[in-house]
């Protein structure tokens, strides 16, 4: 019974952690490249969830096969949300790039409110629901009295997350684009002196971060079946916590942090109290930051001058 219960929490925690991890990558990449916390990123995730919900509903009217619907929804959510992320960067952050450090941060808080109100105005303030798209699953350990279930949806979420994280890790570590991003993180002027268009590299970073957040949004709406215009706030703050926990600026750190926050939240709910699950994640953050100020995988600067 105990082991079965533990396994069930583990499965749920990894699923939730995948969603947080996908959002956290966007925070960490943007922080890495322009040194700002994009507080509107949680709302980009929310926009992604809405785009996914709307395209699911539209596809439900057609007779397209489910795997194709999932793939199309994924692509539509990524493309549309990437456009939102790109626009937010162009409108709210780029004009402030040479301004003082706090300016884009304040602008980001403003964009967060703008996006929330925009979705509220366009889609209404009431919650939106989605019927389960993927049903069924595996069950284990029925003989112990506590059945462990692993739904196909959970498998789908974790597999898509692993797949996307692998693709984007390769993109960052192996391609010219990734090299340009890593160069921008360190010295933007010098990157421009390499003949690289820094503005475009920053735009692409926002596009990647936003499209990953939209996938998280799609997973979220499929998993919980309920969204509203305000979901970006708490999910965003938790994903931000995940990014800091893993070491802000580090992409593997964001994945690890997301997983940890998901696990902490689920285990806390499962073993201690479901009411204080939000406090648990933030308490762990505070404790970790006291002992590991740069997060688990944050990079200490080695520089020889």
């Amino acid at each position: 019974m105990d082991l079965a219960y533990f396994l069930q929490q583990l499965i749920n925690g990894v699923t939730l952690g995948s969603v947080y991890g996908l959002i956290a990558i966007g925070y960490t990449m943007v922080y890495g490249i322009i040194g700002m916390i994009n507080f509107a990123h949680g709302d980009i995730f929310m926009v992604g969830a809405f785009v996914a919900l709307i395209s699911f509903i539209l596809f439900a009217l057609t007779s397209i096969a489910l795997p194709v619907v999932l793939l199309l929804t994924l692509l539509i959510a990524m493309v549309f949300t990437a456009c939102y992320g790109w626009t937010v960067e162009k409108l709210a952050y780029k004009p402030l790039r040479k301004s003082f450090r706090l300016a884009p941060l304040i602008s980001a808080l403003g964009m967060s409110i703008v996006l929330q109100n925009y979705v509220q105005a366009a889609q209404g303030a009431r919650i939106k629901t989605l019927q389960p798209v993927i049903q069924g699953g595996f069950t284990f350990m029925e003989e112990t009295g506590f059945t462990v279930s692993l739904s196909y949806l959970q498998v789908f979420i974790v597999l898509v997350t692993i797949f996307l994280m692998a693709i984007f890790t390769l993109l960052i570590t192996r391609t010219a684009l990734g090299r340009a991003q890593r160069a921008c993180e360190q010295d933007r002027t010098m990157t421009a002196l390499m003949g690289i268009n820094v503005d475009r590299t920053i735009s692409i970073t926002f596009i990647i971060g936003s499209s990953l957040a939209s996938v998280a949004g799609m997973m979220f709406v499929m998993y919980y079946g309920v969204i509203d215009f305000y979901i970006g706030f708490l999910a965003g703050i938790k994903a931000f916590t995940a990014a800091v926990l893993g070491g802000i600026g580090s992409i593997p750190g964001a994945m690890l942090g997301g997983l940890l926050i998901g696990l902490i939240e689920v285990f806390w709910s499962g073993y201690i109290s479901i009411e204080y699950k939000d406090i648990a994640a933030f308490t762990v953050l505070v404790v970790v930051l006291i002992f590991f100020p740069t997060g688990f995988l944050g990079k200490p600067d080695i520089e020889k001058v």
Binding site: R182, T191, A192, L193, I196, E303, V305
Partner: protein, 239 residues
């Protein structure tokens, strides 16, 4: 090849360049000497498009470049080795070189260009997988020059390549600069505090004082000039 006319550049409210005129002909090595704060680095950053001139004109290969973004200027064929080297210390030596090749048709000629860089600085070949920040100062300077050469520039701007480097390596670096000019046919615009070495190497030189060009002439003329000897060659314990 490069004609700078009456360039004025401001840093906030401070005027760093006050109408500078410099001309660099194709195939030359031209040096600009001057003390700290004279505006030497500002001039290079203005040519590269990092700082924008508020007045004047910069013509490169018959093209007006002073309003172009920095990355476009690199793609036209002007590469810079900036003051303090500014290599990407957290990236490997190979990544640094590959970044340098970005301007050269997005790096498709990497394998060809990197051979030339190894010929100039063989040590870089042994350091490929090391992080840039772990190299010694001299090696970092070699990497910075090699990285700039990966773009296959027509013109190379060098900002104090001898600064903070062991004397033995300084000779090697000046030799490499000479090679780049003579064999690779790259025009050189060199900024130096080590005025003697720079003037010995250069075809022509300019002296920059407080944002103004006060003297110009061939390297030999300037070496013999008494004002220069007093201000830049004998003083300051440089001997």
């Amino acid at each position: 090849m490069l004609t700078i006319t009456n360039i004025e550049t401001f840093y906030g409210n401070i005027q760093a360049l006050r109408g500078v005129n410099v001309k660099v002909n194709s195939g030359e090595i031209v040096t600009l000497i001057g003390s700290n704060g004279a505006g030497k680095s500002t001039l290079l950053m203005t040519i590269s498009g990092v700082n924008k001139a508020s007045a004047g004109e910069i013509i490169f290969d018959n093209k007006n470049i002073q309003n172009l973004p920095a990355h476009d200027i690199v793609n036209l064929g002007i590469s810079q080795v900036p003051e303090g080297r500014r290599i990407f210390s957290r990236l490997t030596v190979e990544d640094n070189l590959r970044l340098g090749a970005s301007a050269n048709q997005k790096g498709v000629h990497y394998n060809k260009e990197v051979k030339d860089v190894y010929d100039l600085f063989p040590i870089l070949k042994d350091r490929l997988n090391q992080r840039g920040g772990t190299l010694s100062g001299g090696e970092q300077q070699m990497l910075a020059i090699g990285r700039a050469m990966m773009a296959k520039p027509k013109m190379l701007l060098l900002d104090e390549p001898s600064l903070g480097i062991a004397p033995k390596l300084v000779n090697q670096i000046f030799l490499a600069i000479k090679n780049i000019n003579r064999e690779k046919k790259v025009t050189i615009f060199l900024i130096e505090q080590n005025a003697k070495k720079a003037l010995e190497l250069a075809d022509r030189g300019y002296v920059l004082v407080n944002g103004n060009i006060t003297l110009e002439g061939t390297g030999q003329e300037l070496l013999k000039n008494q004002d220069i000897q007093a201000a830049y060659l004998e003083g300051g314990g440089k001997k």
